[in-house]
């Protein structure tokens, strides 16, 4: 997918989407209108004339194509906005659904009134409109993670992680690692690089990706070492928040002293 670093669609892609939607709208609208006009002509009871039939077809097609193209372009433009905005996405899908239901009801009404061909075509048109309500056009926010890979958004990070590598390396699939994964990698690295600073029990824990522990001699309870985000807070969600330079191991009391969001209760 050709996306800018934020994962949003580019202007070229938006233009292409609008154009494609307009073309599809023109073809579908033209075909529908031409079919209806031809059917209406054939079932009118008048004598069938080949020239009139061709005229009805092309006249209907052109009329349908113009209306379909305009509507298609409008929906395409709205679709491009819907890729950015959840609200626009909801409005667009609701519009498709409403048009689908309205045309379907018209079709049913037509069939019940004896206009079988016209009613059937209206139902088909309603179904086509309704199909437009099915896709999720929104591509930002949370769903962005499945839309644009982290490798595209952060080209400076390597894919995959081996012992000793920065803990915030991307996963093998190119995704941003979860905090749980970063934490495990961090402690494994700590055991790898600084084993002389910990007891054998704690080195063993860290090799499994677990935090070292100690007896809190003030409380008489065991406590685990924590990882503090020095400069970029974890709640910021910024790309480098788990970078090694932003992480510092701290015991809970120190963490509470330097981080207003961390309370030990003691």
């Amino acid at each position: 997918m050709n996306s800018d670093p934020s994962g949003r669609e580019t202007l070229a892609e938006m233009g292409a989407a609008i154009g494609m939607q307009a073309a599809i709208g023109a073809i579908v609208g033209g075909s529908m209108e031409a079919s209806m006009r031809v059917l209406a002509y054939l079932t009118s009871g008048n004598e069938v004339d080949a020239g009139n039939l061709v005229f009805e077809f092309f006249d209907g097609f052109m009329q349908g194509a113009i209306i379909g193209g305009v509507f298609g372009a409008l929906f395409g433009a709205f679709g491009a906005i819907a890729a950015e905005s959840i609200l626009a996405n909801c409005v667009l899908r609701s519009a498709f659904l409403t048009m689908g239901l309205a045309n379907s009801f018209d079709g049913i009404k037509g069939i019940l009134g004896g206009n079988y061909w016209g009613g059937s075509l209206k139902i088909v048109e309603g179904i086509l409109w309704g199909l437009g309500a099915l896709p999720n056009y929104y591509r930002g926010g949370i769903e962005n993670s499945t839309y644009t890979t982290a490798a595209e958004t952060n080209p400076t990070k390597s894919k995959g992680w081996r012992l000793g590598d920065p803990p915030d390396n991307l996963t093998a699939a190119g995704k941003e690692p979860s905090w749980s994964t970063v934490r495990q990698r961090y402690w494994k690295n700590e055991a790898y690089y600084n084993s002389n600073q910990y007891s054998a029990e704690n080195v063993s824990r860290m090799q499994k990706g677990l935090a070292p522990q100690q007896m809190n001699l003030k409380t008489g309870m065991m406590e685990s070492m924590e990882i503090h985000h020095n400069y970029i807070t974890q709640s910021s969600g910024l790309p480098d928040m788990h970078a090694p330079w932003n992480l510092k191991p701290v015991w809970p009391d120190e963490h509470a002293m330097i981080d207003p969001n961390r309370f030990t209760g003691g």
Binding site: N194, Q197, Y198, S199, A200, E201, N202, P212, Q214, M215, N216, L217, K218, G220, M222, K248, P249, V250, W251, D253, E254, M257
Partner: protein, 150 residues
């Protein structure tokens, strides 16, 4: 090489005996509500930066800075460092700390332990840092509590 971490885990932080000495990880000095005194570095012998933590349930003032908990690093303890303040539960908590060079304040784990001695009014602490040994000379310091405040 002894690491006292296991012993402290088993004793749930309570003192235990080792080679005829009472080994403590934290000292709870009994003081009056109004407290004053000083702390002085005697010696250090470690490749890691040594420190001492003073902690009260109240407020201490050291060099015009007020707080509940202070860490005094060895390079700021060469002269006697005076403190005064209040302790609601009449206790002054003391334990040693170290920094391996990465800016992390460590204490209570691996080889950390203290032996407490008295010399007149002074309480002397011979301490082990995180190195798993039993020489108790990584930092040696003394604390004197003013008797008129006790």
């Amino acid at each position: 090489m002894p690491s006292f971490e296991k012993e402290f885990r088993e004793s749930k932080g309570q003192p235990f005996e080792y080679n005829g000495n009472a080994i403590i990880g934290i000292d709870r000095l009994n003081v009056e509500k109004e407290i004053s005194g000083y702390i002085e570095l005697i010696s250090t012998n470690s490749d890691w930066l040594q420190g001492v933590i003073l902690d009260v349930n109240g407020e201490l003032e050291i060099n015009t800075i007020k707080g509940q908990k202070f860490i005094l690093w060895q390079n700021h303890m060469k002269k006697p460092t005076f403190f005064h303040g209040t302790s609601k539960d009449k206790q002054l908590l003391v334990w040693n700390a170290w920094d391996t060079g990465n800016g992390v304040t460590n204490y209570w784990h691996n080889g950390a332990a203290m032996i407490k001695e008295t010399d007149g009014d002074a309480i002397i602490y011979r301490c082990n840092d995180g190195h798993p040994d039993d020489n108790f000379d990584d930092i040696v310091f003394k604390i004197v509590i003013d008797t008129d405040s006790e």
